[in-house]
Amino acid sequence: MQRRAVNILFLLAAVWLVAATQAGYFDHYVLTVLMFMGINIIFATSLNLVNGYMGEFSCGHAGFMCVGAYVGSLLSVAFFSSSKLFGDPLFPPELAPFLFPLVLILASLVAALFGLIVALPSFHTRDDYLAIITIAANYIIISLIENIDLIGGPRGFSGMKRTINAMTDVVDLPWMLIWVLIGTFVCVTLLYRLVTSTYGKGISAVCQNEVAAEIMGVNTNGVKIMAFMVSSGLAGLAGALYAHLYGYVNAQAFNILKSTEGLVMVYLGGMGSLSGVILAAVAFTLMVELLRFIIPAMNDLLHAGGLLPASFELSQIWKWVLIPLILILLMQFRPEGLLGNKELTHVFPRLKRWVSFK
């Protein structure tokens, strides 16, 4: 019972959320923020596997999210709705609620394959050099997609809302919320189980002393492939969910700025701390939303105080000044993040009764 406490708690919270949404308790905006939180958790915790546990600096994580978003969108449209690109739907739209997991899984698997772009060079390079390769991977993926005119090129791709509508036609439930909750749960459970297994601890061994790991019997190249593929696969899952949440994807949404968001969440939470990064993803999502209100308020205040010239407006673009600034301040004053490589159970030992990170 105690061992499952966290799972049960999550299940109860999820059921409550779905029920409350169904009862119209949340407006559309709050709901979108909630779902975005889940997607950010998946995005950040998967990046944490490489940047935190394995100690490599991947800064092109959004590229894999982009792959997942496009593959998920294309499959979803091909499967469940008629379109100019694919013609008639492959399956009757009534099957959407049952076959949608297949879309998510395939999107993750393809994204995982793209993870090899980074995994294979990692056999011979590390640190800064690998970081440059990850940025390159991000750009390769975005440029690739932008140049395939068939799937919209730079105009983006849409039509995924029809899949969600098809689900609602079958059973009237907040389906998108349900899939985000399931995706988040699967992602966190998978990562938790991986990093607490002896096999998965090989990832940290590679980080802390690669030579010792290889010589003491850890297949370091195998571990690297596994970690990069799991990480990018889960980013793909986040991407597929993201695409369906907005009903529209555009490759430019997954550029280096998106990757930077992931980095901020990981370094805010603490590298190699699963619970820390989950907290950071939640906090970061809230913070970005708060900025939507704070920036105009600041603008008004500064204008009222005469501190800004009347011709100059503080726009939402300032978000992209503030978020990287957080990264700089973090690196300067608390490079290990909120929790360092510790888990919440180290900070609050009483939690150990409910969950153990051994």
Partner: protein, 255 residues
């Protein structure tokens, strides 16, 4: 059949000949020393044997299998373990985890088992944990099970590294300067410890060591290398009397 058979091993790094024509044969229950002045090529020998370098020339046969082309983790899987000259523990994981990870080569389950927590996963993990705790018990490290190695005193870190190597059930244990950085009381303890491991586990131990006290009191045979060449081999008494060895260590007295 010899456990480890090395023939004509030569290693060149660019223009530097680090090791020339090195040969040795170790039996299943030997305790052998490898000595030589700094930079003589001793650690190079160990790095070649454990598969970290691929030899320029020569053959290494371990337990009847040529190891050329094998990755270090595959060589480890054949039953070879080593410790390092400067301790290489995984410092941010508990002592127990350090031992657990060293079991990687026989886990036999994969990613899906780990994530699904299959029956095989649970069985293997139980075995790994039991075995790790046993080895910590044998090595007198039980009270440090949950400590981080970086918080332990140097002598204990060395012992954890030794425990980690032994936990892989090696047939051959390579010790790279096990006494480096230990004070004289610790060195006496280490000598007893190595002798005890040698008797208890009945394995082959091959060690590089600078402290003559350790080598002379433990090893049955010693080989001496200098500038990558084997200059002497024999029992401790023979080595101590060998003029070439004295010359290598103390220099030539004819100026």
């Amino acid at each position: 059949m010899a456990l480890l058979e090395i023939n004509g091993l030569t290693q060149r790094f660019g223009g530097l000949q680090a090791l020339t024509n090195f040969s040795i044969s170790l039996e299943a229950h030997d305790l052998i020393g490898l000595i030589g002045p700094n930079g003589a090529g001793k650690t190079t020998v160990f790095n070649l044997v454990s598969g970290f370098y691929t030899p320029t020339e020569g053959t290494i046969t371990f337990n009847g299998k040529p190891t050329r082309g094998l990755k270090p983790h595959q060589v480890a899987g054949l039953g070879m373990a080593r410790t390092f000259q400067n301790i290489r523990l995984w410092n941010d994981m508990s002592v127990l985890d350090n031992i657990r990870i060293a079991q990687s080569h026989w886990l036999g389950y994969g990613f899906l088992d780990a994530v699904w927590r299959s029956g095989r996963y649970r069985r293997v993990e139980k075995g790994v944990e039991k075995k790790s705790r046993e080895i910590l018990d044998i090595m007198g490290l039980t009270e440090f099970t949950d400590e981080l190695p970086k918080n332990l005193p140097y002598g204990l870190q060395r012992r954890v590294e030794l425990a980690r190597a032994l936990s892989t059930n090696p047939k051959l244990l390579l010790l790279d300067e096990p006494a480096a950085g230990l004070n004289s009381a610790d060195v006496d303890g280490l000598i007893r410890h190595i002798r005890w491991i040698y008797d208890e586990f009945r394995i082959c131990i091959w060690m590089i060591e600078h402290q003559m006290k350790v080598v002379m009191s433990l090893c049955q045979r010693i080989s001496v290398i200098d500038f990558g060449r084997t200059i002497a081999a024999g029992t401790p008494a023979e080595i101590q009397a060998n003029p070439d060895v004295i010359k290598a260590y103390l220099g030539d007295d004819t100026l």
